[in-house]
Symmetry: D2
Amino acid sequence: MSELTTREPEVTRASLLNRTMYNLREAWREMADWREGLFAAPSPNLPEKDMEALKDQMRDCLEARGGEVSARARAANLGRIYLSLNAKGRKRFLQILAREFDIDHQAVNKAVTALQKTGDNHDERAKAERTLRQALHPPRLRLLTQLNALPEGFHFLVDLRAELLSWRKDDPALGALERDLLSLLVSWFDVGFLELRRISWESPAALLEKVIAYEAVHPIKSWDDLKNRLSSDRRCFAFFHPRMPNEPLIIVQVALVHGIADNVHILLDEAAPVLDPENADTAIFYSISNAHEGLSGISFGNFLIKRVVDELAQEFKNLKTFATLSPIPGFRHWLGGKLNEPDKDAEAELLSAAERKALATAAGTGTEPAALTSLLQTPDWPQNQELAKALKKPLMRLCARYLAKEKREGGSAFDRVAHFHLSNGARIERLNWLGNTSPQGIAQSAGLMVNYLYKLSDIEANHEAYRGEGKVMNSSAIRTLLKG
Amino acid sequence: MSELTTREPEVTRASLLNRTMYNLREAWREMADWREGLFAAPSPNLPEKDMEALKDQMRDCLEARGGEVSARARAANLGRIYLSLNAKGRKRFLQILAREFDIDHQAVNKAVTALQKTGDNHDERAKAERTLRQALHPPRLRLLTQLNALPEGFHFLVDLRAELLSWRKDDPALGALERDLLSLLVSWFDVGFLELRRISWESPAALLEKVIAYEAVHPIKSWDDLKNRLSSDRRCFAFFHPRMPNEPLIIVQVALVHGIADNVHILLDEAAPVLDPENADTAIFYSISNAHEGLSGISFGNFLIKRVVDELAQEFKNLKTFATLSPIPGFRHWLGGKLNEPDKDAEAELLSAAERKALATAAGTGTEPAALTSLLQTPDWPQNQELAKALKKPLMRLCARYLAKEKREGGSAFDRVAHFHLSNGARIERLNWLGNTSPQGIAQSAGLMVNYLYKLSDIEANHEAYRGEGKVMNSSAIRTLLKG
Amino acid sequence: MSELTTREPEVTRASLLNRTMYNLREAWREMADWREGLFAAPSPNLPEKDMEALKDQMRDCLEARGGEVSARARAANLGRIYLSLNAKGRKRFLQILAREFDIDHQAVNKAVTALQKTGDNHDERAKAERTLRQALHPPRLRLLTQLNALPEGFHFLVDLRAELLSWRKDDPALGALERDLLSLLVSWFDVGFLELRRISWESPAALLEKVIAYEAVHPIKSWDDLKNRLSSDRRCFAFFHPRMPNEPLIIVQVALVHGIADNVHILLDEAAPVLDPENADTAIFYSISNAHEGLSGISFGNFLIKRVVDELAQEFKNLKTFATLSPIPGFRHWLGGKLNEPDKDAEAELLSAAERKALATAAGTGTEPAALTSLLQTPDWPQNQELAKALKKPLMRLCARYLAKEKREGGSAFDRVAHFHLSNGARIERLNWLGNTSPQGIAQSAGLMVNYLYKLSDIEANHEAYRGEGKVMNSSAIRTLLKG
Amino acid sequence: MSELTTREPEVTRASLLNRTMYNLREAWREMADWREGLFAAPSPNLPEKDMEALKDQMRDCLEARGGEVSARARAANLGRIYLSLNAKGRKRFLQILAREFDIDHQAVNKAVTALQKTGDNHDERAKAERTLRQALHPPRLRLLTQLNALPEGFHFLVDLRAELLSWRKDDPALGALERDLLSLLVSWFDVGFLELRRISWESPAALLEKVIAYEAVHPIKSWDDLKNRLSSDRRCFAFFHPRMPNEPLIIVQVALVHGIADNVHILLDEAAPVLDPENADTAIFYSISNAHEGLSGISFGNFLIKRVVDELAQEFKNLKTFATLSPIPGFRHWLGGKLNEPDKDAEAELLSAAERKALATAAGTGTEPAALTSLLQTPDWPQNQELAKALKKPLMRLCARYLAKEKREGGSAFDRVAHFHLSNGARIERLNWLGNTSPQGIAQSAGLMVNYLYKLSDIEANHEAYRGEGKVMNSSAIRTLLKG
């Protein structure tokens, strides 16, 4: 798990859906006057015999029988039915929705034919295109829209997409439904709707509880740990949507410090003194967590960083530097792959002779070269000072190479977190040896952490260079490591 | 002007756009750090020479040069430029947007060809349809979306659509842009986003000022008039959108009374006693006004009535009846048309012999039949008791016929207000003789008003009957009038 | 009427008490479970026969029969009875309270005797003093306290004191009760409880309505006038008490301008342009109004000015000068007295020969000296340019003398408004010829207005000089006038 | 520690005063413009040499040198100095305040003489009494009042009284100062000022943290424990003062249940199911904690119970019964005293022969009587079922006797908690065997708990009977126990 990882959907979905269910039930009670004649809840796995009735109910919604107001009440009922089903029943429910209320292909063909008949007349062409566009909007999309009117309907749809994401591989129709839902959510979660709010020790416990649950980078161990992260020299912000006012969508934690922080344990140490934030010259973004799997693929992080930088610069006039202290989630995995490449002496390629010798000495294997792979699996190697010293140079260099040079197809940085910050216009500023020696930090990043620097005047140019030419901007310290 | 008429756009738009401008300028100041290198404001009528630079600026937005965050800042600049233009310049601005950032027809053709090549494979077909749908979304739509991130950006887009509506007849390209914008607004103003809020004498003066400005049915004459409409036996509600928190979208005024009200002057009389609303048995919806021309075509009224009925039923346990006291905005115009139909003796058809005789007597024209047309143009005829008495019977009958029988193509009621309430599931309950004798009331409805009754148990059936078969539901009193 | 005058109690009290009554009735409903067995409301003028029952009821309250909670409910009942009485009945009610629940003189005598018996023992003495102090607290004071627990009880007590103030001359017992109530209000309205709130066009109409009603210096003519006073280059602040959250206690209006304003008509001109407050260098306090007669004698104004200066200095970094534009409410009255002093040629003493001559010329009385008294009674003399010119010099000099030299017994400035600002540490800065030519301005101040300057660094010294030695601080301009 | 015990002042005072200090320092910064020339902070134990300067500073405050506004700023400085002192210095500070600014005895003597000279003239007498009352108000009281204007000044004074309470035994002058401060706080914390607020899981964590800290009856072990106490079938309310908006003054916890609860462990069991509160017929007040030692002697509890009963009755229409589940904090101590009374066979008097025999059997001492004293000291006797069974009857009877019959001088119930509820008009309803088997429950109440019943219709009569005649109202179950 690492910086931009969303919290595990398996863990929280159930509980959130249950919560949603509760509220939908509430909503249901309030709509009691519309209830008569509606389709009753089927058995949890939605047997064959109930399917026709369900289709009818869906059809009624779409045709707005009894008027738009009634249609919304019927949609509420569909939501309620969905929540009463088990996994098997839900999948069937969604498959009906996906298949029976798909695009009408014949209507599309007809519109295509009409389009092709239009000649040079621009207006006729425009009209035909509009008709075709209309025909390409599947009815299931309108039905999903109707659910928005429910209390908690927004949250329901977000959680629904999380479920679809986990099932889309099993059935392409569910994948298509998922993409329909995504298009809806993209429009509704446009950044223009989002509200930045500070989260503090004065926030409701019910909200703070979620901050604890959603933290994906450096898990929050207790309420005391949380309180420490909300001290006067810390800031925590999140984006919220007006229709989900109690649900943070993405959360960032910031420390106000002197100089760029190089060690996360110091930041999280509850016994450390609280600084006067008025004197801080640097803001360190040390955790960014997405809260909802159902919103994956909708980008908030770049706007969040911009907005938080603005807020902080406004509040603290002495801030000069904005940077992150970030994990390098893919480093060890990548290194492991490199070391295990068959048919060559990987270590000889990756390490210099002097480094190999130093490692052998530190490992006590005499002149026999010590395998880097196994050294890194030594339990608690960071506690072994000699070994750690011998490892530092090669690991720093290799990590710099991993971050700055390794690319995916298409040219983006191999490391997920690096890609996020580089495409936001940051540069790689500094590698921090033993910046995170927690078991997870060792396992993912060999204990290393990295600072990305957001220099406001360079952000646009950095972004363009990275996006256009895939050029990664580095500090001179990083460049030195790369040369080494 | 009548119940569902939006306030005159000519009057208010300018002022609202000016207000928006002010706020965008504010926003602009805050974004000063992004400003450098942006296109400066051209001269107000956007001369030829500035057009290329503007296109470039639009292109930069769409390509998100410098990243999405910068793109939003650029979009803000475009908004600012737009507001600095005069009418001529604005039209040119929008024409560039509409023409240069239209759908890429070649891409559409290509996607169509690809679609036609897919055979029976469902997944391939789905993929091709998705590609085609994508190709049919014009870039200008994305640019409009980017403006949402501005402070007051929402309001800007709503006002922009009002401008487009007034220009669409001049240029089909602007009509297409207007429809693109409508599709965006339909999604963003989905009823699920709207918040019902009560407006009272405790509301901010800045909001109440808008209630005065937006009232389109019975103009509010003064702050005292307004205060009277917010007394303890009145209620005023409006829908708001979270992104336009200080702008009512649609406003309804309700009086809590005994029995169904038949006269609007009594309701608006500032000297009348205030009733104890706890004892009221009837809620009269006596004014519904849309506030924004730019939202025309997006339906809120039906949901508003439903929600307000719920609120009132919750607060006042003794309420038994929910009805309107409504104008009949098209009656006199329709009647004038009937009376002027060429080549027949319209009056002889519309009136009985006895009625004509009574009118002649009242008009003092002896045995010579008095022309109904001219009688209705007699100034202050409602004050002439004899004449009024003679007019009552035929006008009531003709008005009942107008409301219940006259249809437009497609089967909807000819009267706009009637259509609105009938399609919401109400029925025509009662005609009220001299219910509104203001100059406007005389000119539009011959002084008549009508009550539409919302009987909760019949709403769905009424709606279906009206929508399906065009059947208008009437009370027995109306049916009697129709027979007479 | 002038700057620190409280609005006319006659006008508003009735309405406010009625409002209070309404709310007390509400409160009463909520306390229905405590109601049984309580004394029912007597007839409005409180006849003799009901007095005993009322006394019993008061006694029950004081003895807290049934517990403290019940006592508060009984006190609510007493409040309700009071509000149901007419003026005669209320006076009787208060006389009972004042007389029957006065200090127990015998207990006082006993405590005095005990005190005198204590010798040198400090603790015994302290104890005896405490007992005596206790005996000197009349029971009626406790009963007044109990009314505080009512909803709107605070407001009730404030209005009650206003009534007592108007009756205290008729009956010394009511005067004593009024002083008891004052001691209670002094403690409860300690400045530490008060909250400064800005009043703006975003404030509730129900509050703004009060701002209009309470304005005592420059009456607010309409909602448009009010809106102008709440423009972006104006500020309006008031103190509120947490127990009367919707009632401003004292209101100040401020204009943000360039240079010290010299004319109130310019400030109140609705057609004048709105300035950018960011550029203002001067804040002009042009109206301070106390809102409640019942709080007279409790000083808020000094703290209000200090707090508002702090707020403004915080918000607008360019403000350099804080000053008032004030009326001189007693000038004409004082001058009239001077001119009418018997047995001497007042005009000869007050005016120089040259001035008398100039006046005679302007008045067209030839060499015959024109009487200043009658000149000032000429209707519209400010419109007569020649006359106004001749009057300027002597009136400016005499007004400077009036403000700076005329004292009451005890050494305070004769002019009420001057005394207020001087004791707050301001100095007299400038006289403004024809600064207020409204009928009231002419009648009270011969059209003159004055600026008091609050120079932060001098406030303490000025205050001490004025309070200690009665020394009035003046600008050099004023000193020049005084010498003239 | 038990129901009405205030949390340990030793533990929390320091931290709270520190917090106050922080805020006062903040306030101080804001008042920087008033600072010059003020007395600087002395060394922490306030040596002799600084005392004169301190007295001068106090005198300046009282004389309002530089005006009232400056006086408040000076008072802020005194507050700051106080907070910078250690315990020794603070005591000295307060002794100066108490001794040097005491009542002026000569002025009192003079006023007494004047009073005695007045004859029968009522008005003269009244005037003299007023003068005397004035003379009896010590200047130190005015200085304490001035501290109210500080941010957090209220809190400061409350904490100051807590310190005075702990020192008053050492010095009678400090006791007198404490009583002055009490008189001020009594007026400012009049119940009319207090606001009842619900505390829920939606409340700020900073507030909930205090709920945990202040709980004095059943300590809250963790945030999970707290969350359980704020579930949907629980309610928590507190009184707040508008000048201490984030500080609960007294907190009550309520469980909504079926039937009167008899066991506190069941109520606090986090694993127990949550009930639907709509169905609950009984509200159990299971914890009432005062939060501030500095407010001891000012009674809120009776009003709190009344207000919470009103709130609950409003929200839950099915509630029929309002009762407590209370500790019996003094039972074991009283019983120990009884058993240890010298010179008699206490056990023979308190227990029947049969009971003694049963105890001997259960204790396994054969025919030898087992000492009740030592049996109760057996560790974990409640787990010994046979022994517990033998103890039940005598302990229940003795406890009933303790609660209902044991009185203090003056006739109030011996048990503190019993006295509180009885004087509020409750009756003793039921004793609950093994209702609290926590170590504290065993140590204080031999594991017993008691229900007090608040029957609304009897509250006044019960209160009167208890207050007047010292009559304790009991249920028939209790009467049976008493007879046994």
